[in-house]
């Protein structure tokens, strides 16, 4: 019922991920590159003493929802590891597409092994999603997971497609942006919650409510991340100050700013979007303009709105189930995000 309880589940999840990786790998060395990306081996492809894994947040939610509803842990672990492989396939391809050179402080796959092989590495992780599903013993759960995960992947790729297409556009409405992150980020969280609940109860209606909670959390997660991309403290995030401004990323705060701007101000923003390299002066202008329009408040308020919606729905279950771990994870994440702000 405390942090150790969550750590225990994280350990079990990591073991299941490695177990599945072992089961579905062969002796061809590309599999070791997928293990590099998962954080288990180093650049030399030998095991790391201290693994450098991601947060495993999506399988964690899947498992915690399943356990909250009294489900069979192993089903949730299989589905959760399929979801984590899915998330990681998308990261490997995303890093190629965005030309990101680092992730969690390590070189990205394409940066070390080149683009062509990084496409293969992502494809292999993609395939592992479905290999893991073959572990499921219940035909109902298998067919439900297959249907939900393929719909989720379709939306995730659509979101990724829209995100990239936004780079060349300036007329992106906030509504369009929210539709994009709904697909690219929130959908996978909502599916983690949905399948966590379904694997425990096989009840459609109840699972749909958890699906909504997951979606709310996902939207909170992305919009808060957008805020931290501008107002995060480099000491705490490990990223450069104002990183999303330097990278001309069209995230919520900037699109909100643009939508609130006069024609003249819009031209100034478009000028920055059109530059090869952003200048110190551009950043100063944007920061000043963001402050004048109170965009930080608007962004955190929206993130908080989504958080509250999900949190409220979660708390409505507190007389029926022991939601303490899920509640703790929600609260910890909320606090974490706010603690990352520069003071």
């Amino acid at each position: 019922m405390d942090v150790n309880e969550i750590q225990k589940f994280l350990l079990i999840i990591e073991n299941k991920l490695q177990e599945n990786w072992n089961k579905f790998s062969s002796n061809i060395s590309i599999h070791l590159i997928t293990a590099y990306h998962m954080g288990w081996v180093g650049e030399d492809l030998t095991p790391l003493a201290n693994i450098r894994r991601g947060k495993r947040l999506r399988p964690l939610f899947c498992v915690l929802v399943n356990q909250t509803l009294g489900g069979f842990l192993d089903d949730a672990l299989e589905i959760g590891s399929a979801i984590e492989f899915l998330h990681n396939f998308s990261l490997v391809h995303d890093d190629i597409q965005d030309r990101d050179e680092k992730r969690h402080g390590r070189w990205t796959v394409w940066k070390i092994w080149g683009e062509a092989q990084a496409i293969n590495v992502g494809d292999l992780l993609f395939n592992m999603v479905f290999q893991v599903l073959t572990n499921l013993k219940s035909p109902v759960l298998l067919s439900k997971s297959l249907k939900e995960l393929t719909e989720t992947i379709r939306e995730l790729i659509e979101g990724q497609y829209l995100d990239i297409s936004f780079e060349k556009r300036k007329d992106i409405s906030l509504k369009e942006y929210l539709m994009m992150i709904d697909k690219k980020t929130a959908k996978l969280f909502s599916t983690s919650f949905y399948l966590g609940a379904f694997s425990a109860t096989y009840k459609e209606d109840l699972s749909k409510i958890f699906q909504e909670i997951g979606r709310d959390f996902g939207l909170f997660f992305q919009i808060a991340d957008d805020a931290i991309g501008i107002w995060g403290d480099p000491e705490k995030t490990g990223k450069n100050a104002f990183v999303d401004l330097w990278r001309k990323k069209k995230t919520y705060p900037i699109l909100y700013l643009y939508s609130e701007s006069s024609e003249k101000e819009k031209l100034r923003i478009e000028e920055i979007w059109g530059r090869e390299i952003v200048t110190e002066k551009d950043i100063e202008y944007l920061l000043d303009h963001l402050e004048r329009k109170r965009v930080k408040e608007a962004t955190f308020n929206l993130a908080e709105k989504y958080f509250d919606e999900g949190y409220k729905k979660l708390l409505s279950f507190q007389d029926l189930y022991n939601i303490s771990l899920l509640r703790k994870l929600f609260e910890d994440y909320y606090n974490l995000i706010f603690s990352l702000q520069r003071s």
Copy 2:
């Protein structure tokens, strides 16, 4: 029992592919780019009067094997279209990896829409493989197909990984090369045959024999293709003369030549592999050297050996089943390959 019979199946397959594409697409425009790749819409993303599709050879085999064994056509059509989407996902990613600008006489996806979006387009076709499987009504067939297809994809990606890794190596044995094409090309044919048979009979032993026939055909197909990449007639193939020599592709004939070369000759070949751009003189040297070592004969002989093995196994069924269409497709393909040679 004649060409029209095969054409009829090709038409049904094309309809099933389009039906599945429709069922699993949304209004986000990336889906139209997958339709461009499939040959149904033009660069402007509007429907083509005359579709420009590939050979659909893999689903055709799947369907013909199923029908030969008296199976339920619709199951084979679903599995066959999953297999064709699988093949096409691999082509889209392959074109990015190889920097191929044309396929079937049309611009490749990455060439028109850029690499980042082409990765997404391939991923979307990849996902469609598994969306199509959700159409299968039999849980046994679904779980068998999922298992076989994911193993096939694993091998296909391993093969692609090995193929790319060969570009930087010179010590590739013929055995290694055959292992690579077994994974990259033959496995998908063997799975088309296997699932065609399994979907009709649910019999493991019988399906395994068809799996072998498919593998034999796949190895014939690839090695014959390697031969045509050097000795094909540009008028008939639509490709440049000696295209694989110009592109320094390490296919069977060249690796065979290398293995039969003296140390001095090996150095000359390595020199060519190391060049940024191959010269007329290099091509002349290689052609002459290939002739001296009788590599064309050796290559066609090996292709023929695989063909014969598969063909013989196929004919062993002729008293049990009406194999006339399958036999015709085998023979047509055999004749086609040899007709593509320059005289």
